[in-house]
Amino acid sequence: MTDMVGGNMFEMRKEFFRDERDDNLNEVGKPTRRQDIPGHVTGRSPFFDDHLFDGLLHMRCVRSPHHHARLRRIDTAEAEKMPGVVRILQGRDVPRNLNTLLSLLDFGIDDEPLLSDTKVAYKGEPVAAVIAQTEAQARAAVQKVRVEWDPLPHVLDVEEAIKPGAPVVLDIYPNNKFVYHGKYDHQKLRFGDVEAAFRGADHIVEGRYQMSPIEQAPIETCGAIAAPEQNDRYVCYTSTQGLFFSLGTASKVLTMPSSRLHFIGGTVGGGFGGKVDSIHEPLAILGAMLTGRAVKYAWDREEEMQVGAPRGAERWYLKDGVMRDGRIVARKFTGYFDSGAYTRLSSYAIIKGVGHLPGPYTIPNVYADVYCVYTNRTPATAMRGFGITAVDFAIETHMDKVADVVGMNPIDLRILNAYRDGDMKAHRRIAKNCALIECAQVVAQKAGVTLSPALAAAASTRDGGGARAALPAFTATDEGGRVSGFKSTNYAKKGGRQPDMPGVPAYQSPRTAPPTPNPSPQGGGEPTPPPATPVRTGAMRFSSLSGFRRR
């Protein structure tokens, strides 16, 4: 089936893997009109802001102009008298003003306030929220909030941030690096012995690759409208990409049982990963709680661009050992994720990235050290390809370098090294359901690139496994980057009990016990002692990857 859209070809190549499919289905496989498109073309699709409320209030935040500063004093006296101002929220109004997104999955230490009250660690960090009758009035009142700052030294480069003596962005972790498993300041991948393989390689190819932050830039900005609902509940219309994720975050931060929260969404004007951070819902609901009215909190475009969390910058160093026939025998990675000022989802991205290395290739020796680094910039979050896009950019640009060094057709090089069904992968699992070779062959054919005959005839289903399925005889391991003073939780052991299928709850409602008091100020004083029992009971998720600090 071939089609053209304005000179752009689209075809289904059904002949590949035909024997693995039944193509005689009734509804699946049909080009059925989208269920929601009549709403889109009539303007009736209900985005979060497409709901009318009587007396809707508008929230705008007071934000740090500094990359890094201590907050000495906030004076809202003049702002409170401005026309239309109903209430000004500060950190002390937030019932539980410290959170990390993945605490819902028991991963990581609470590190980020909803409204900061002692220190700010990035330009744009919110320290107060003005609620007024109109957006214009809220903006005007924001200008009248007086904040006294003590600027602190800041650091913006990932490799500078991890040096001893660098400004401390996040004091929970040592040297601005997230701690994994309570054991290391990075995540390791060790498969075989790259140093030995480098010594035997015909060529060494090195590269440094950098992606700078990217905005998700959906046409709809992030936002939520919250309002008191009947029966002592709050309704929240939201642009979130994770309805229960945001509900759970709001429930925790506001110490409100989830049964009192009614979240409505599902129709979103583009997300691309930027609508997961669950910042707007808790603030809007808090505003509704404290004013008794409907409150809208949404970013304007400037905030969406510079305050909204972008795809985090990544820096990758690659080193390949290559034989003259093009086989890559060793690949070494050092990766730095720029998490910005807080953790959010970056800690998870590193693990996802490590699980992706060395790319869709069978390479017998692989080594990686990947760091989640804190800097004084807007915190990063997910974006389309989270944990993968930047390292794939590095890998595929590097492959082109390798092709150039060995003098090989770049497509031939991919097919030669491509993984095949049955091959052992660097994270010690067998490859299956592979199709890289076929994709490369189709493109070569369409683009008129002549492949070497053996590689033009290769297939993902052939020539894999056998000796290629073996684990390496020897893997070089090390304890580099060891940290002390962090305790990992009991899920860390290999061979630990897996939850039974199905229905293991991955989401738990927060305990109804009184909340812990607000933690001591950041940047000085004692850190929060860890709770004696975990905040969340039940299945512990990702606990092997987080650590709790003990003195």
Partner: protein, 340 residues
């Protein structure tokens, strides 16, 4: 003063779903007395077509026309839990949950029809057009509407189903990184042609040839939407957009779309797409998720094409005229490679 043409290639795979698993999705399916079905989800449609693909999956599994199925999402009061729409997990996780729920609803529907027709439910098939009949004997038939009415008002059955899909959470070895990241991967290859102006440093993408392997194209037009839109975003990542043009310095950060630049409709390159399908063993009808991997191969393909055209390798994205000109200067001018 010349325009140089170059071609660059990249090939990738993409993990489907949250890394390490542990990201469940649930679905509820129920019929009204007329035999029209509602699928209650908490999944989010960001434009990727979640409401549409789950509708087709439900209709296929139930054996009814897609017009008789409506997907309702997202309301936390009425929809069961779902982790969210990210990590290319939606089709895979939610699709499987919908299949499980629809299978249960279908089996009740067939039980109801079997009771009315006085046959064994195992002898019944659906024709996908609103009828249930005995296999091989299409005249011994009942409409799904009549079966639903009988179920509700006569038999006391609820034509409804519940579904959940969860890949159990797995762990990571701190010392070796051993882990089970995901159960299936999608694949892509891309060849990009560019034109580089060695006087201005501007890079223009003039053609894209791609192949994407998506498990199964549950709706080929939805897949095409993602692949076209995603490749456009990849082109934008490669040579246009960033919030920090002088990273790691934060200077000159764009605050509006005048300075946060993306390709407009006048900057498009023709993109010729081929779709392959190697079903995932645990995918809904074999489906994987094309939503994220569509952009990824474009970034390195553009960089590699620039190298092919003028011999400079821009290792820091985005590729900008400034970076290209500085590199050309350092190299002493354009040195076309033309390897592809």
């Amino acid at each position: 003063m010349a325009l140089h043409t170059g071609r660059g290639f990249a090939a990738i795979n993409y993990p489907i779903g949250m890394n390490l698993g542990g990201d469940p999705s649930q679905a509820l399916v129920h019929a009204n007395p007329d035999g029209k079905f509602t699928v209650a989800l908490s999944a989010i449609d960001l434009g990727q077509g979640m409401k549409s693909v789950t509708r087709q999956i439900a209709a296929e599994t139930l054996g009814v026309p897609v017009e008789d199925v409506y997907v309702d999402t997202a309301d936390s009061d009425t929809g069961p839990h779902d982790m969210g729409s990210f990590a290319s997990r939606g089709t895979h996780r939610m699709g499987n949950a919908v299949i499980m729920a629809a299978k249960e609803a279908r089996s009740v529907m067939l039980d109801a029809a079997a009771e009315e027709l006085e046959v064994d439910p195992a002898d019944l098939v659906t024709d996908g057009r609103g009828n249930i009949h005995v296999k091989g004997a299409p005249s011994r038939s009942i409409t799904t509407m009549a079966a639903a009415q009988a179920a509700q008002f006569k038999q006391g059955r609820t034509i409804a189903g519940r579904g959940i899909f969860l890949i159990p959470l797995s762990e990571v070895d701190p010392d070796t990184g051993e882990m089970t990241p995901v159960s299936t991967f999608a694949h892509a290859a891309m060849l990009v042609t560019v034109e580089v102006d060695d006087e201005t440093g501007e890079v223009t993408v003039t053609d894209m040839q791609s192949a994407y392997e998506v498990g199964r194209a549950l709706n080929p037009r939805l897949v095409e939407q993602q692949l076209r839109g995603g490749a456009w975003m990849g082109m934008s990542h490669a040579a246009w957009e960033t919030t920090e043009p002088y990273y790691p310095a934060r200077d000159h950060g764009p605050v509006d779309f005048n300075s946060y630049i993306m390709p407009g409709p006048g900057d498009l390159a023709p993109h010729h797409i081929s779709v392959l399908e190697r079903p995932a063993a645990d995918g809904p009808y074999g489906g994987k998720g094309p939503g994220e991997m569509c952009a990824n191969p474009v970034l390195p393909a553009v960089v590699n094409a620039v190298f092919d055209a003028v011999g400079v390798r821009i290792d820091e994205l985005p590729v900008t005229p400034e970076k290209v000109l500085r590199a050309l200067q350092a190299q002493g001018g354009a040195k076309p490679r033309r390897r592809l």
